[in-house]
Symmetry: D2
Subunit: 214 residues, 4 copies
């Protein structure tokens, strides 16, 4: 059995739900074959969220960590390729903090690449009949903060651990009346299962055309 | 049993599938309670498509006709409110014709409103956990042509018939690698079931805020 | 000299400016050759706005009326083709009224087509180096209300008058910090000059491919 | 006099013009006060473009280098914050090469931050009445390649040089008939002048809310 830690976030930005948490719970309830999935909900708070992630990694000793967050406005599942050493909050986090232009980890590298086969993950979601793409930015809010925290943890303390970040669209009920893309939580969960399966079964990433012109 | 005629379209514009046809077949295979659903595929051809629709109405004597088409780029199910007496093709249809600025029916009204409870239909899709909105334009291509043809048929020959048009997003496989919204065909079919159920069970439309600022 | 009446709107929806009014004032200050342009600001209020328009038409006896409104989120100048006999407010107007599903003029046609050469107008804006397209819906708020009011006035009382509606994007200062399209007011004014010139110099519209697939 | 090197790109991706080159020529023809601006056109070719940039830096010994590229689909001027050590071409470059998942400079850091006051630059564009934002990704094509090449050149050979990258929207003529945002080249040039002026007159960046949630 492969141990997988999935994290979702609590609601933020005035929303009352967060599809990342709804979806990872659903995956944990019906995990992919040969996996044991633990779902953990992270606070949408700078600092605290990384502490909670670190504790969960210590507690569950996973082989794979997939952090998941809501990217309102994106139309598909996006597998993040780059964690940036930058906190620059557009809105206050759930503890009321709004850091501007600060490093996540002072003195650490400007960025880490995900230790996931990002293109294989995208291909797996598509093979499951859903829409996905590679993303080069996870933003500069708590999602990127957690992603960088995970990547730094892997780089400095858990070199054998694989980990990455997936952004998911709004759930349909979040966009009622707005011309915004959304994805049903059932589809998001199916897509995450595909990502998990690809991540644990692919050692080298595939070569495919997924780059961005800008 | 309420007899429902659902139409979808053949692929067009270089696509190899059309989610409207895939979804209406799926609804016909598992129809909503108390309905008998017939699915008919229309040609994406001006004139011909309305002929096919007229024949299907004659053959099946439905209580409700719901025509469905693909609106690539829209993020949700859109229940059309206005059929316009205008053919103005952006691309050639599947027979190679590209009419410009011609009426669908010379001398007929500039527009018809859908004889569907459009807001109740939108509410029903949302209650099913999916995203929907009211649309004021079905374009000026074959979709609007069929919608106007249906509305004119109802106005002139079948006054008791109810009918409308629903546009659906791209299927995920149509947007692989493009930053475009999509909806899984399973979700589209579930949304269409909700529309059918609302349409046959609602006599007067609900009052709700679904208008468009522009 | 051709007399042209241009109308813009007061701000609405929480905005402190409205690019439609800023731009029509600018056109009036430097009108196109051979035209005399009067700019009138309309209230963003159902009923009142059409009354104000009617008075301005009576007062200035224009040969051409071009009503202009803000379409926040659209990326280009859109020349409206269809005025719909429907008030269905998404938000309250500036007098606090929010009509739902009511006709603009009870008993009048479902829609009017603009009495403008809409494709020639679009071509003229492009020839001026700016972006434009034909639109099939002006929404269901005060903009469409005024457009329908104008079209009905022309149809019933001023058969020789030409008139239409142009929607313009947000001004840049309205979208600071948001990933929304905008157009500088200078460019909007230049585009409106091109529309006016095309409208008064073109008798039959051009044939060009400007239709919408949906 | 402050010496400024501005680079634009030749057309690519089937386009016949590139607004980045049109705009930087315009800035060079009418440079901001107290600056001497040289405009250089770069090939849209991996490797070659960085060679050309390096030669131009050697030839003109600028105090500031601003590389500019086209970001078709973006609605505003975007000041790039992060250069990524990754070539992953979505389409072939103008020499027919399409590198996948290769570093720009093997062994160099995963990313560099721009040595520009990016938030002051954004504020300056807005003060000029135009729309701008900070971007966290310049993509993985030749634009990012040049940006990374510049940042690496600064880091390794020209520590006193300031440099950055600005992406600009499509020009209006590139989007005729498509529902895509654009900006007139005149406005783009005015925005670039504002960026240049801010970059040479600001030593520490301003603190302002410009971060991205995702």
């Amino acid at each position: 059995m492969t141990r997988v830690l999935l994290t979702g976030f609590e609601p933020f930005g005035g929303e009352t739900s967060n599809p990342s948490w709804d979806a990872v719970q659903s995956v944990a309830a019906e995990p992919p074959a040969w996996t044991e999935v633990t779902a953990v909900r992270l606070s949408c708070v700078f600092g605290t969220a990384v502490d909670e992630l670190r504790e969960a990694v210590a507690a569950y000793a996973p082989h794979l960590v997939l952090c998941v967050g809501q990217a309102g406005g994106r139309p598909d599942l996006t597998v993040e390729r780059v964690a940036l050493n930058l906190d620059d909050a557009r809105i206050p986090d759930n503890a009321g903090h709004q850091p501007l232009d600060r490093p996540v980890v002072p003195g650490a590298p400007a960025a880490y690449f995900a230790s996931l086969p990002v293109k294989a993950c995208v291909a797996a979601v598509r093979a499951a009949g859903l829409s996905a793409s590679v993303s080069q930015t996870a933003g500069t809010f708590v999602c990127n903060h957690v992603f960088y925290g995970l990547a730094h943890l892997i780089a400095t303390e858990h070199p054998g651990l694989r980990g990455g970040f997936v952004h998911v669209p709004y759930a349909p009920q979040q966009v009622a009346g707005a011309a915004q893309p959304s994805m049903s939580v059932r589809d998001v969960a199916a897509g995450l299962c595909a990502v998990v399966t690809a991540a644990i079964s692919t050692t080298a990433d595939i070569r495919s055309v997924e780059g961005a012109i800008h």
